[in-house]
Amino acid sequence: MGEVKETKTNNKTETPEDEIPGVLTTTTSAISDFLKKTKAQDLINWGRKNSLWFMTQPMGCCGVEMIATGCAHYDTDRFGIIPRNSPRHADVMIISGYVTKKYLPALQRLWDQMPAPKWVIAMGDCSISGGPFYESYSTVQNIDEIFPIDVYIPGCPPRPEALIQGFVELQEKIKAKKDRGTEY
């Protein structure tokens, strides 16, 4: 979870059958592994960090603030951060509330549907530590063991400014190649 899927392709299965003299054959993962060591990855990350589209799935109080952040007043479009309704368009999943036992499978499925590279932001106390509902019988605790969370935004709920700050932190992380969305 959280890794770039194409690196999984094994070299053995793609062994070239006949070698062409004078031509170096290679695999896609070898190319991407090579690129990760070069300056080209900086350029790729620059592109990635400036178009962080997030998925809207309001789950709790933070969901309202998430929607407010994506809309007219706070206008995250300035930073290339656009709310998307489909997980297949999204780069960032914001866990905006309490994850219940019933909702966890759906959330994992949404996460699997998102194309890599992808990131998770834990917004609000509920997704970080359970918040006011840490002792509830129906919520799932320790979300950070389930999803590779990059940024934690405390608050109950965090203000839209805090969410924007969280996105800025995520951008910094991507720029510094420290994010958990990609293997470097």
Binding site: T56, P58, M59, G60, A72, Y103, Y137, S138
Partner: protein
């Protein structure tokens, strides 16, 4: 698949099952709508709840009354103040105290502001669901002004923890009225703009007029309340039927429409916003000076450990979505023995499947959106 829908009918050649949700742009929060379709017609529908059930009733039993205020905030995060009013009102009835007049006015001011922002968001969402995304951007923009006002008083945008037993946490800040009047005046203007925008748009009329029609008798038998009921012509409003706070001294009318369709529900909300502004103007003019907690009592911003006399009470308030009630049992300790939350969206959501049966898929979003939901409160 069959047992999900609760029907054992064999799915015919042109039938299929479509799950809307748990994550779907149409939804105010995660719930699942299972539709059995024949072509484009909805044959059968079922709602599956519980994706954000957090066990608030159990948690409330294990928190002191003061801590409980924080928890009830999160029942429905769009109208945290009305939830608080209901919870605090229950405890006040058991304690047999009444907030001083100034505190009551402050509560009414904040609850009406809260109603305004909730209706704005609800209307914007409805616009988005029927493909009018610009509407959402307009209303969110105006909503921020109101949130700023609420933020100015309570210090929070969404979850306030502002009401206290016998009063409110803080007095209104200096210059509140001067800040509020321009916002309300602007809002009056934009409500007329919205009305014109809605009524002049042919596509909007065709998407909403005559869609999802509820008649008064059906709405009553489904247990619906709030704007959805008032759009059918039933003047049922807890603020009038069972006045709490200072609503009996204030002049306002219950807005009703007769058509009972999606357009009528939106029209009721628009008119209610006008009434809310009128109430706010009266309150800002008439608010008396004085204490915000009853004098000579220990109730204050930080009430010490409070034991509530044993008893039972059922208190109702008017939420933007309808009738909000709480049933509180106290056994004389510092924690409630049982709190039952009766949210307005729970019966409204229950009424959704019979309402969308026989309509087309495209209308499902319009009907669901016109109900202005809050799944969190239905799930609790």
């Amino acid at each position: 698949m069959d047992e999900i829908l609760g029907s054992n009918e064999i799915i015919g050649p042109n039938e299929m099952i479509v799950h809307l949700g748990p994550q779907h742009p149409m939804q105010p929060g995660p719930f699942r709508l299972n539709l059995r379709l024949k072509g484009e017609t909805v044959m059968d529908a079922e709602v599956e709840l519980g994706y954000i059930h957090k066990g608030i009733e159990k948690i409330l039993e294990n928190k002191t009354y003061l801590q409980g205020i924080t928890i009830v905030d999160r029942i429905c995060y769009l109208v945290a103040l009305t939830n608080e009013e209901c919870f605090v009102g229950c405890a006040e009835k058991l304690l047999d105290i009444e907030p001083p007049e100034r505190a009551q006015y402050i509560r009414v001011i904040l609850e009406e502001l809260s109603r305004l922002q909730s209706h704005l968001l609800g209307m914007g969402e409805f616009g988005e669901f029927i493909g009018f995304v610009s509407m959402f951007m307009y209303t969110i923009k105006e909503r921020e002004d109101i949130l700023t006002l609420i933020d100015m008083v309570t210090g929070a945008r969404v979850t306030h923890s502002y009401l206290r037993f016998g009063g409110v946490r803080d007095d209104l800040p200096a210059g509140f009225k001067e800040k509020a009047i321009p916002v309300l005046n602007n809002l009056k203007k934009v409500i007329s703009d919205y009305e014109e925008m809605f009524n002049s748009d042919r596509i909007y009329r065709e998407r909403t007029a005559g869609v999802g029609v509820l008649t008064a008798d059906v709405a009553k038998s489904l247990g619906v309340s709030g704007p959805a009921l008032r759009a059918t012509g039933v003047p049922f409003d807890i603020r009038k039927n069972e006045p709490y706070l200072v609503y009996k001294d204030l002049d306002f009318k219950v807005c009703t429409e007769t058509a009972g369709d999606c357009a009528a529900r939106v029209q009721v909300r628009l008119n209610e916003m006008r009434e809310s502004i009128y109430i706010l103007e009266q309150c800002l003019d008439r608010i008396p000076s004085g204490p915000i907690f009853p004098e000579g009592t220990p109730y204050s911003k930080r009430t010490p450990v409070m034991r509530v006399p044993a008893g039972e009470v059922f208190h109702r308030v008017e939420d933007p979505r309808g009738e909000m009630g709480m049933y509180m049992i106290s056994d004389g300790t510092d924690k409630p023995y049982r709190v039952k939350v009766r949210g307005p969206y729970f019966p409204t959501l229950q009424a959704l499947p019979p309402l969308i049966k026989g309509t087309t898929v495209a209308d499902v979003a319009a009907i669901s959106g016109s109900m202005d939901g809050c799944t969190s409160e239905a799930d609790r």
